[in-house]
């Protein structure tokens, strides 16, 4: 197989302050499917076209934000190899193994903290529960979809301080490619980095921010610009806290809308974006053009994009 090593973002675990409201948001508004609850009260959900058991984990506590993001790797052998290489790199801290079954239907996970203070996991095994359609002569979408109904969890944008060493960790150790970056100042310091492990414009992104471990958004992919516009209708119809959009990003070219869950965690749904092969030349944006890079139509950054994180 040509796509090897780290395959994709597999799950994001979010902290919420009111589980009932959060479940309403992630099922009725966003349109994920609840697949399990555990003894701790965590709720596990998936998007309709994901075959794996779950991609979103909600945990009720007294603050918002991200607990961790998990990536699926291609095999247990790759998981063991990457765990060793992460340790040898010295770029990550708080390395640990999480036992198989700690997430329902999921094998053991290797957990580490990036220099930006984000907890990242790798795992090789998660049950395939299917997408509601047969794999022999299927339809194109299943019945019973609700809300925005993205087909899958796509990426996270994370805010933290030491993005230089985090980029190094993702590229040199985990095998990601830097597709786009934003640079600033006379030293061309990287202030934003878009990283892919696949053919997507990004699977995870980082923006330089004084505080460690912050979540800017968790993003889910829709099929078309029309579905993004319909998502905007749903945001108003359900009186959801709206951030910005529908608009388009210069970076990644994605067509996007941002909104917040009831605990203030930002969500994105988007469509489009280019196909990225590993030999695609990296794109660079300078800080004097960062407005157009982030919001291609308005050509200016809003305060919220830079400041509102959980």
């Amino acid at each position: 197989m040509a796509l090897t090593g780290v395959l994709r973002p597999g799950h994001v675990a979010l902290r919420v302050m009111d589980m009932a409201k959060a479940v309403w948001h992630y099922t009725e508004v966003l349109g994920l499917i609840e697949v399990a609850r555990d003894a701790q009260g965590r709720v596990f959900l998936k998007a309709w076209d994901e075959h794996d058991h779950h991609s979103v984990v909600l945990r009720e506590t007294d603050e918002a934000g991200i607990d961790y993001m998990g990536f699926r790797v291609d095999s247990p052998a790759t998981l063991a190899r990457l765990a060793k290489e992460i340790e040898l790199s010295g770029l990550a801290t708080e390395l640990s193994w999480v036992a198989a079954g700690e997430h329902p239907g999921t094998g053991q996970r290797f957990r580490f903290t990036t220099p930006t203070g984000h907890v990242i996991e790798l795992y090789a095994e998660k049950d395939k529960v299917g997408n509601g359609m047969p794999t022999l002569n299927p339809e194109v979408w299943p019945d019973g979809l609700r809300g925005m109904a993205p087909s899958r969890f796509d990426h996270c944008l994370l805010y933290g301080d030491d993005i230089d060493n985090t980029i190094k960790l993702f590229i040199d150790v985990l095998g990601f490619t830097l597709t786009e970056k934003v640079v600033a100042g006379p030293d061309q310091m990287i202030i934003a980095a878009f990283l892919t492990c696949s053919n997507k414009p990004h699977d995870v992104a980082f923006i330089r921010h004084p505080v460690k471990g912050k979540l800017h958004h968790a993003s889910f992919i829709l099929e078309s610009w029309g579905e993004v516009l319909k998502a905007a209708d749903i945001i108003t119809k359900r009186r959801v806290s709206h951030d910005i959009g529908p608009t388009r990003h210069g970076i990644t070219r994605g067509e996007t809308i941002y909104f917040f869950d009831p605990s203030g965690n930002r969500n994105e749904v988007f469509s489009g974006g280019y196909i990225s092969y590993p030999d695609r030349p990296m794109l660079t944006w300078t800080d004097d053009e960062v407005g157009r890079a982030i919001f291609y139509h308005d050509r200016e950054l809003n305060e919220s994009f830079l400041s509102v994180v959980t």
């Binding site: 302050m17 007294d62 918002a64 202030i191 605990s263 203030g264 965690n265 800080d287 830079l306």
Partner: protein
Amino acid sequence: MSFNILLENNGERFRCSGEENVLLGMECLGRRGIPVGCRGGGCGVCKVQVLDGAYRVEKMSRACISEDERRRGFALACRLFADGDLRLQVVGKMARALGAT
């Protein structure tokens, strides 16, 4: 019931129903003064201190409002409901990322 809300920082005054949070009350009238963030009690940019007046709050992220701060009258405007006229000091701010710009 609706009440008078006064923002000490910019002198903005607006009426706000006791049934809607102070941030929403401000936004609905097109008034300015309290930074608007997630509107869910999670991000902390709409942080205020109640200098005067009766109020109640809903759940706010502990990362934004400590228990001590809560006792001292700090609140997130998106979780703050007036039970009387309120005088507020805006303390939340937009702490910009992309530090170099």
